[in-house]
């Protein structure tokens, strides 16, 4: 049981627990908090994987912006405890079966596909920050620009959506 493995299991457990509690919690704020836990844990995993930049961005953007937005909205709408209706029949037992099937399939597929790269495990941390920036601004510059446009559009759209129509 090497240290990294230990850290991994701790963080992984944290993440899974967070995800489960996201499901079990009745109040959206609690769900949000559990999700934040998951994200922080994932950030730790990224660090473990040597992707510091991604980890930082994960926390700053996901933890510091997106989830804050969620919490903010929950507070703004003063969302109460989730009311437990079950009108949809699909989302009952059949849904459960389907989810299990999906998860199983995904896991199987991924595992099978990772068998082929067992040998090629890279050891050692690559200096990811500069490398990532190089890739973003060299090879992926057009996607980058596109995403920036996407963000712009999204911001405008959100503004238009959320503003009360002047009457």
């Amino acid at each position: 049981m090497t240290a990294p493995l230990l850290v991994f299991f701790v963080l992984a457990g944290l993440a899974v627990i967070g995800a489960v509690s996201l499901i079990l919690q009745k109040h959206p704020i609690h769900s949000a908090l559990s999700l934040i836990v998951v994200m922080v844990a994932l950030a730790g995993l990224y660090l473990l994987l040597g992707a510091e930049f991604v980890a930082a961005v994960q926390i700053i953007v996901y933890g510091g912006a997106i989830m804050v937005l969620f919490v903010f909205v929950i507070m703004l709408l003063n969302a109460g405890v989730e009311e437990h209706t079950s009108i949809s029949k699909m989302a009952g037992a059949p849904g459960l079966l389907l989810v299990v099937a999906l998860a199983g399939l995904v896991a199987a597929t991924i595992v099978r596909s990772t068998d082929s790269i067992q040998g090629t495990m890279q050891t050692g941390v690559m200096s990811s920050t500069s490398g990532v920036s190089n890739m973003i601004f060299r090879e992926f510059v057009y996607p980058f620009e596109l995403t920036s446009f996407l963000i712009l559009v999204a911001v405008l759209g959100a503004t238009v959506l959320a503003q009360r129509e002047k009457s």
């Binding site: 998951v38 998860a103 890739m135």
Partner: protein, 100 residues
């Protein structure tokens, strides 16, 4: 060193949980969060693979995913605010105007 499989299986689990939440939660905001959870699971897989293959593409892609998630959150929350304003509820089962 942690085998890639572990990361990948973890991401699969998280993804499954996300799907589960996506279906079985009734609060729009929570459903949104479950979508974010799925995205995170995918990101984990990306980073794991990129590290395993010694390529950075995966990390770059994760960044893009995060950006898209941010955009999605902005718009989606705007929509949610609208829904809450107009229908006084956050329960998706009460928002069923799509019905014939």
């Amino acid at each position: 060193m942690v085998p890639t499989n572990y990361y990948v299986i973890l991401s699969a689990i998280l993804f499954g949980l996300g799907v589960f939440a996506f279906i079985f939660k009734r609060n729009i905001i929570t459903i949104f969060m479950s979508i974010e959870l799925m995205l995170n699971a995918v990101n984990l897989a990306f980073v794991a693979f990129s590290q395993a293959l010694g390529k950075l593409d995966g990390q770059v892609f994760v960044l893009f995913v995060i950006v898209v998630a941010a955009a999605e959150a902005a718009v989606g929350l705007g929509i949610i605010i609208l829904i809450a304003r107009n229908r006084q509820t956050l329960n998706v089962e009460r928002v069923n105007l799509l019905k014939l």
